[in-house]
Assembly symmetry: C2
Homo-oligomer: 412 residues x 2
Amino acid sequence: MTLLQTLSINGKRLNQSLDDLAQIGQLDNGGICRLAFSSQDLQGRELVRRWMLEAGLEVRFDAAGNMIGRRQGKTHGPALATGSHIDTVPCGGKFDGTLGVLAGLEIARTLQENNVELDHPYEVIVFADEEDTMIGSRAMAGTASLDAADYHRKDGRPIDQCVNQAGGNWAQLFKARRTRQDICAFIELHVEQGGVLEMAQTQIGVVQGVVGLQRYQIHITGRPNHAGTTPMDQRQDALVAAAQVVLAVNRLATNPPGARVATVGALQVWPNAANIVPGKVQASLDVRDLSQVVIDTLVSDLRAELDAIARATHTTIEVVPQLNVAPSPAADHIQEIVAEASRSLGLSHRPMPSRAGHDALEMGRFTDMGMIFVPSEGGFSHSEVEYTTPEECTQGANVLLETLLRLDRYYR
Amino acid sequence: MTLLQTLSINGKRLNQSLDDLAQIGQLDNGGICRLAFSSQDLQGRELVRRWMLEAGLEVRFDAAGNMIGRRQGKTHGPALATGSHIDTVPCGGKFDGTLGVLAGLEIARTLQENNVELDHPYEVIVFADEEDTMIGSRAMAGTASLDAADYHRKDGRPIDQCVNQAGGNWAQLFKARRTRQDICAFIELHVEQGGVLEMAQTQIGVVQGVVGLQRYQIHITGRPNHAGTTPMDQRQDALVAAAQVVLAVNRLATNPPGARVATVGALQVWPNAANIVPGKVQASLDVRDLSQVVIDTLVSDLRAELDAIARATHTTIEVVPQLNVAPSPAADHIQEIVAEASRSLGLSHRPMPSRAGHDALEMGRFTDMGMIFVPSEGGFSHSEVEYTTPEECTQGANVLLETLLRLDRYYR
C-alpha cells in the first residue's frame, strides 16, 4: 500500500509528450490538423507506437486499426484498459483525445520505471477515427456495421481502405470485437470541452456517463404565397409554425430545470424570399440526456405540441428520426473510485455528465466504463484556443493512475 | 347621355387580342415568358403598336421606352390615361399587365368605331419593365434615378442599353416625366393576383390604393456553441431569439385584425449545423399597408419587442432598413366613380387595397390615380395557371370604359 499511495506520474514528461505530439499536424494558427487516417495521423501513431515500445508495452493493431499497447499483469484475466484517440477535427487542439492516450502511456512509463506489476494486464488503446466514424471503438464494442458502404467519411475516402492503411484488416473487422472477458474496465481521461469545471472552479469531473442523443429532421409544409397579397388569416406560413416549434423545443428542455439539452441548430426556409410567405421549413432537432426516459419524454411531449402547432398554423409537420444513440452510463463503482482517487490526491471533484461523444461511450456498451474530466479554459474545444494547463493535465493523469491502481484491487 | 350609357366594348375582340398577344413568348406549359426588353417583349410591343395605329391612335415612344398611344380630344387640356405593361415574369400568365393594355386599346377601338369624341385626350400607355425596375412608370413620375449604375436588372443587362433598344433615349430620361398638366387621371385595370374577389364572389375590386412597403434585414447575434455541452441556461441562441421575432411580427400584424400584412419570408442560420447552438440569424421583414401610420406603428411596436427579446435571450438584434415605398392612395372621387360605374353595369364590387406593386403606384405620385381589379381564379398569378374568365375581362374593360366616360365629365 505504501508504494501505491506514493506512486505518481512524471508531469513534466507527460506535458513534453503532449508538446512533441502537437508538432505533428500543427497549423500556422497553433491549431492541430491530424485528420484520421491522414499522413499526419499515421505519423502521430508511429511516434506513440515508439513511445509505447520504450515504455515496455507490446503493441499490436486490431482489425479496426486500433493501436493497442499492452503490459502483462500478474494474472491472465481481463485487462484494465485506458486510452482515447489522437486524430483531430480539421482545426483542433492538442488535448482533445491526446491527453487520454498520453496519460495512459505515461502511466505505463511510471509502472515500468517503478517496477510495479499490476494484478491485471494493462492496455493503452489509441482508437481509430474518433472524430468521424468512431470505427475503432464501435468495432471493439461490436456496434459497427461490417459493410463499408454504410460509412460516409467526411473526406470521402472509403472506410475499408482507410482502416487497412492504418494497420487494420477490414475483411476481419469482426475480430476487433472485445468482451468483458477481455477488458473488465475501461477508463478514459479527457478534457471537458465545456465550461462546467472552470465555472465551478473544480479540478476533476467524475463523469456519470455519456449522454444519449436523438436527432430528428422536422419537415414543416405550409403554402408559399405572395407576402403582399395574402391576408394574414389566409396564410399557411411554415416559418411561423417553425418558430413555434423552436420555442417549444427550448421550453421543454428548459422547464422544469434539468440537465437535458435540446437544440434546433439547423433550419432552412423555402423559397426563402423576403416577399414570399414561407411554404416549407426543414429544421433539425438534437436532444441529449443521461437518461433514456428523459429523452423519450421530451420527444413525446414535443410530438404532442407539434400536432397542436400544425393544427393552429394550418401546416403539416413530419418528424423523421435521423440518429438514436442510447446513453452510456458510467459504472457506479468506477464513479465512486474516481471520486475517492481525487479526494486522496487532494483534488476538488464533482459529478457531471459527458455531453460530447467519446470512445468510452462505445466501450461502456460491453464493459464497466468510467471517465475523468479535467477543465477546458473558457470551455473551448475543437479549436486552436483549446487549453488545459500542464498542472491540470498532470492532475488528471494522476487521478487516472490512482483509479487504475484501485480498480486493480477492486477486480481482484 | 344615351349614347354614353349604351357604349360598351367588344368582349370577343378583347379576348381574341389577349389570345393573340399570348402567342408571343408562349412556353410549352402554357405560361408566357416575355421578359422586359427581350425579343419577345419587343415583338409584343410591335403587335400592340400596329393595333394602336389601326385603332386610330398616334403612337410615340418616350425617353424611358414607354409606348404611348394617344387619341385627341375636343380640348387640348390634360389627358385621361390608362394602361399597364406587357412584360412578364420568367413564367407568367397572359393577363397580368396585358389585360390593362388591351382593355385600353379595346376602348380606343370602341371610341373609334362609335365616332365618340371625348373632351379630353385619351392615352393608352404600355409601361417599360414593370416586372423588374419599373423604369417606365418611375421615369414618368420623376422618381427614377437618372444614373444607369443605380439599376441592377435581374438579367444583368444594363438599363440604358435596354431602354434605348426599346425606342427610348436614356440620355434624355428626364424628358419622360409627366405632370398633372399632362395627365389629369390615370386608371389601371389589372387582374387581382390574389383570392379576395373570388372568395367574396365579387366581380369588381374598387382599389383604394397601392399599399406602401417597408423592408428590413434583422440581424440577430448570439454565440455559437456545442449543442451537447452547453447547458440551456448558458446559451445565447440566435435562433430562439429569431423564433420570438417571427412570432412577434406575426402577432403585431394579426392582432387586432386589420388589412396590414407583415412577413418574415427569408431566414438564414449560422453555422446551421444540427449539433451547434445557432450563433447568428439573419431574417427579412416585409410590412405593407395602405396607411403610412399603420406601417410606422407596427415597425415601432416591433422595435420595442425586439429590445425585450434581445434582453431575454442575451442576444443583440440590429434592424437595417432596406426599402421604403410610401403607400399610393387612389383618389377618393375615382374610387367613387369606379363604384358607380360598376353599379350602373350591374356588377358587384367592393373596396380593397392593391397589395402588389403596379405602374399605377408611381402614376399616383403626381396625378389622380385609380385601379380596377377583376378576379384571379384561385388567387394565382405570376404562373402559367393565372386565369380570369373572358366574361370577367370584358366586365373589367367595360367598367374601365364607363369610368373614363364619367371622368371625362368630372374633369370638364
